[in-house]
């Protein structure tokens, strides 16, 4: 399987670590509600089909990405950068 890193280009999956479901929303730190944190930490929709997921190009540029991938076909339809440089790549 290949992942199109927006920084490095098309690379083999083995250069990345998988970060799991990217649709779950991490509570912001002031939020100390255990139930909301537990939802975030433990609960997944785990869909068959389209899946937005985090990947870390840990053996490449070390960027964290959101990859859109089909869990049934492994078809990767896109990847975008997240973090401070997201949307400011041209800077």
């Amino acid at each position: 399987m290949l992942i199109p890193c927006p920084v490095c280009g098309l690379r083999d999956q083995s250069e990345f670590t998988y970060g799991g479901d990217a649709t779950i929303v991490r509570p912001v730190l002031p939020d100390v509600d255990a139930a909301r944190w537990a939802d975030y930490v433990y609960d997944r929709t785990n869909p068959r089909g389209g899946h937005q997921e985090y990947w870390h190009h840990v053996h490449g540029c070390r960027s964290w990405l959101i990859v859109v991938r089909n869990t049934e076909t492994h078809d990767v339809s896109g990847a975008r950068l997240i973090g401070p440089w997201a949307g400011r790549e041209s800077a």
Binding site: M1, L2, R26, W37, V58, S63, P84
Partner: protein, 992 residues
């Protein structure tokens, strides 16, 4: 007369270069270019193997990788079992042995199974071998295991070298037949980078079994095409290279077998393509009839291959049995090649007039409207039984007659090699035109061309290949080379090769008729499975083992399906087919492992002091990928004596140890302090520059994650240290938080683990040692107070010195650039001479920390909470940080949980690491486990054995007497539960 070498012919053999190998000790002659199979046939051999279950004598059945019978063991020493004699190139002096036969191939005791085969029907072993008693199966298993299996593998390490390679191309063409060659040429002419892979040593596929392609001579066509390919530098031809797996995103796995005499045996290729043309061809289909496994029965196309490629006749008296016109052309070609063809048997009433007449002239009897209802012979075919057949009723009729013969060539049509297509696409689709499965819709970027699509005519296949190659190149962004004739494939490409085939594959006749020759699965096994309800293809496969042998059912799957379909009374498409998975052809484990063998299994991380440790007698051990010294052994010392000596020296005077493996992360930026306040359970924004603080990290779920000291080097710069084990993970996790949780923070991280070497200097004389060593630093308690950090020099080398203590002694950590580590280390030893400084290793390090009750990965094991380890004081109530909300859950703070305690041995015997804590004094009645030992040592400070443990409600149980149960080591000893800090509880020595 069995097989023999024809007076002339053989495009692949060089009759001027004879060679000789041994088969079961007997010499076998051949020529350069022979396969083992062609030489064995030429030598008159009929039996070359014994079958899996009934140990029936088996001969060579095919001329390719579809071979079900002729599996042999090669070489001596590190032998290669289960090799297909049909694809192994004969080599002078090679040692070849038969398999699965005892005492000998000619007389195999296992053949007795055949007599009882009626009791060994499909699945019989699920119904018996159960008793007597509970251990039932264990009584029989040893015998069954010995009877099963084919070749014997060696117990010697495989000394051969296996290499790896990565290849990239715009178009990968799999298969070097007419379709593949045309595809490679067409794609190559567009300028695309092309790789052409072919299993065999030579290109051309089955073209050399055709006389003509289009209106020209096929040899000329091949020569022309190959020379055209030669002219294209962008086309890379890889023969002897078998593409076995089609993985996601058009990444394919292939194994290249290097010619004999190469320094490596095989090379694994990872091929990443933009587009793929699958031109993998087809396999000839056999008939199912009684005795169809007798040595001498083989595929007709293969018989022709032996004649044309190797100048070998498969028999002196050949009968050919077919259900289509192609079989007649094969018969004619055999006859013309000098192979005596005695008769052609065809269930159809009409034969192709031209071929029939020519064969009749050649003296062959043409038995149309007939079928072979039995093949007779034990270790060699003696005759076939022929009966009249009525295609209308599908029944045999009239008198049977025996035809004497020593070879029966069967030709029941062709089965496309859809395996790779199926790996990377929808299930194969049944084609009524060829009565076989063709590729389904692609999931990856491939196109199929030629016989794999049922286009058996060479010209039509070439045209398809040409178009597929051009289209694949276009799809990869290369425009078609102008002026390529874009021929449309002729209709009825199938008919061209097979004629009006009569879809008769199983001959109605009584007797043992095999479907899967390698696993000895018969037609009646298939029917039995169906009767017992194993109706789905997968159930059939698993219950009968049909198609699950090393040949992966290449010659048996389709016949099995059609018999199942008949038994169920449904059309074949309704039965469906099984999904093909990698590998298409067997792949050696050596090729998959490549050079990652022995010491190369994984990279070794070395600290800058690695060589010094080795020279000093360091007993090295793996810590993750690092090598670290457990202790520096002196002659005659045990490990315990060594570490006790080292630890004692530290407490008595001073020692130094290599802590370079600690994870170190440069945390920089205007928001560095805010960031650390969020990731640590305690506060770092208040830490003054030039000070260090011990920090604790939690996982999101509130359990302990990692710990270490972090030093503030500037307003916006910290040096974070982590445990050796978690360095990379913590770094990655911090990057995750900055990317996902707090992208607004201006913080940059960089790993400095390799930049800084670290040396801990510990002991009452550590300060004096440093005063000797340092050029320019005041390390007095005022100059460098506890937890202070300062920059200075040792012998002109810039160092950072932090006053930290893991040992509980006055201690310092000296950091310097890794390239200076050895110099600094040696200067420290020099400066410590007066105090008889010792280097100490991991075990002493552990001993010193156990005496102090400091925790490490043994206690922070991913399951412990802040409270478990008594670290509440590190848990800030004022601020929020990662893991806090879930760390406050009652389950994590429950006082009933296992808590950190110290243990003191009460019998003077060591407390085993890994022992469990129980109440029972008697090893035979220990009672339940209440906790376990995480770390133990002999404490020089206490002159006794002590340990740390996690114990239920431990903190309330100090003073209690328990027993350390270690049944797996046969130990059971009394211990007293004590405070985890054994030594200098108020820390005078550390601050002192």
């Amino acid at each position: 007369m069995p097989g023999f070498r024809l007076p002339q012919g053989g495009t692949r053999v060089d009759r001027t270069r004879p060679l000789r190998f041994s088969f079961d000790g007997a010499p076998v002659g051949g020529f350069a270019g022979d396969t083992l199979a062609s030489a064995l046939i030429a030598s008159g051999r009929t039996v070359v193997a014994r079958s899996f279950k009934y140990h029936r004598p088996r001969g060579i059945y095919s001329a390719g990788s579809e071979e079900p019978n002729a599996l042999v063991t090669l070489g001596s020493g590190s032998v290669e079992p289960n090799s297909k004699a049909t694809i192994v190139e004969a080599q002078d002096g090679l040692r070849v042995r038969s398999q699965n036969a005892w005492p000998s191939l000619a007389f195999d005791a296992g053949a007795v199974n055949g007599l009882f085969s009626r009791f060994f029907a499909a699945g019989f072993y699920y119904k018996t071998f159960m008793g007597p008693g509970r251990a039932g199966w264990m009584l029989y298993e040893p015998f069954i295991r010995r009877a099963a299996g084919l070749g014997k593998a060696s117990f010697e390490p495989d000394p051969d070298r296996y290499e790896t390679g990565h290849a990239f191309c715009d178009v990968l063409v799999v298969g070097g037949g007419p379709a593949g060659l045309s595809a490679a040429l067409a794609a190559g002419r567009t300028g695309a980078r092309v790789i052409l892979c072919e299993d065999n040593p030579v290109l051309g596929g089955a073209l050399d079994l055709e006389d003509r392609i289009a209106d020209g001579n096929s040899a000329d066509w091949l020569f022309g095409t190959l020379s055209a390919l030669n002219g294209l530098a962008n086309v890379r031809r890889m023969t002897r290279t078998s593409v076995y797996g089609y993985y996601d995103d058009d990444v394919l796995g292939a194994v290249e077998t290097l010619p004999p005499g190469s320094q490596a045996r095989q090379r694994h290729w990872r091929i990443q393509a933009k587009g793929v043309v699958l031109a993998t061809g087809a396999i000839e289909r056999p008939f199912v009839f009684p005795g169809n496994d007798v040595p001498g029965v083989m595929l007709a196309g293969s018989a022709l291959a032996y004649a044309r490629r190797y100048g070998v006749a498969v028999g002196g008296d050949v009968v050919l049995f077919t259900n289509n016109d192609g079989g007649w052309r094969t018969a004619l070609a055999l006859s013309r090649a000098g192979v005596p063809v005695r008769a052609i048997v065809d269930p159809r009433s009409q034969a192709p007039a031209d071929a029939a007449q020519l064969l009749a002239e050649a003296g062959a009897e043409c038995l149309t409207g007939h079928v072979v209802t039995a093949a007779r012979g034990g270790t060699a075919l003696k005759s076939v039984k022929v009966e009249a057949f009525d295609a209308g009723t599908g029944k045999t009729s009239g008198a049977a007659r025996d035809l004497k013969c020593d070879a029966l060539a069967v030709a029941a049509g062709w089965v496309p090699r859809v395996h790779l297509a199926s790996q990377a696409g929808a299930p194969p689709v049944y084609s009524e035109a060829i009565h076989a499965f063709v590729p389904g819709a692609p999931r990856e970027h491939w196109m199929a061309a030629g016989a794999i699509r049922g286009t058996f005519d060479a010209e039509a296949a070439a045209a398809e290949g040409e178009r597929a190659g051009a289209e694949a190149a276009n799809a990869s962004g290369f425009n078609s080379f102008p002026g390529i004739p874009q021929k449309k494939p002729k209709d009825g490409g199938a008919a061209q090769r097979t004629g009006a085939m009569l879809p008769l594959f199983e001959i109605p006749a009584k007797g043992k008729a095999f479907v899967d020759l390698q696993n000895d699965v018969t037609a009646s096994d298939v029917r039995l499975a169906q009767r017992e309800g194993f109706e789905s293809v997968e159930h059939l496969k698993r219950y009968t083992t049909l198609g699950m042998a090393a040949d992966q059912g290449k010659t048996s799957n389709l016949n099995g399906l059609s018999i199942l379909a008949n038994a169920r009374g449904v059309p074949i498409p309704a039965v469906g087919t099984t999904r093909f998975r990698p590998p298409y052809n067997p792949v050696s484990l050596g090729a998959l492992a490549g050079r990652a063998r022995g010491g190369h299994l994984a990279a070794l991380r070395r600290t800058p002091l690695h060589d010094w440790h080795l020279k000093a007698g360091g007993l090295m051990t793996n810590v993750g990928l690092w090598h670290r010294p457990r202790a520096y052994m002196q002659p005659g010392e045990t490990l315990e004596q060594a570490y006790v000596r080292e630890a004692r020296a530290v407490r008595a005077s001073v020692g130094i140890t290599d802590v370079s493996t600690l994870g170190k992360i440069d945390v920089q930026g205007p928001d560095a302090a805010t960031f650390l306040d969020r990731v640590y359970t305690n506060t770092f924004s208040t830490l003054p520059v030039g000070k260090a603080r011990y920090g604790l990290m939690l996982r999101d779920d509130g359990f302990l994650y990692d710990d270490g000291t972090t030093w503030r080097l500037g307003d916006n710069r910290y040096l974070m240290t982590t445990t050796t084990a978690n360095g990379a993970l913590v770094y990655q996790n911090l990057e995750m938080l900055l990317a996902i949780a707090w992208p607004e923070l201006k913080v940059s991280l960089a790993s400095l683990t390799d930049q800084w070497a670290g040396v801990a200097v510990a002991g009452p004389n550590s300060r004096a040692l440093l005063e000797n060593a340092l050029d320019d630093m005041d390390v007095s308690d005022t100059g460098l107070p506890f937890m202070g950090v300062k920059a200075g020099h040792i012998g002109g080398i810039a160092v950072l010195v932090a006053r930290l203590s893991f040992s509980g002694e006055r201690a310092y950590e000296v950091y310097c650039g890794s390239d200076h580590a050895l110099a600094v280390w040696e200067r420290l030893l020099e400066a410590g001479k007066a105090f008889s400084v010792v280097p100490y290793g991991l075990e002493a390090l552990g001993t010193l920390r156990i005496e102090k009750g400091h925790v490490t990965g043994a206690e922070i094991d991913g399951r412990t909470s802040v409270q478990d380890l008594g670290l509440e004081k590190m848990f800030s109530a004022k601020k929020n940080f990662v893991g806090k909300p879930l760390a406050l859950r009652p389950a994590l703070t429950d006082p009933g949980r296992k808590q950190l305690v110290g243990l003191r041995s009460l019998d003077g015997i060591s407390i085993s690491s890994g022992a469990h804590l129980v109440a029972g004094p008697d090893a035979k009645e220990p009672g339940r486990s209440q906790g376990h030992v995480t770390a133990m040592c002999f404490s020089p400070a206490l002159e006794g054995y002590v340990a740390l443990a996690l114990l239920e409600r431990g903190r309330q149980r100090h003073g209690e007497k328990l027993f350390a149960a270690d049944p797996v080591r046969g130990k059971h000893g009394p211990v007293e539960v004590v405070d985890p800090c054994f030594f200098d509880k108020d820390g005078n020595r550390m601050h002192g």
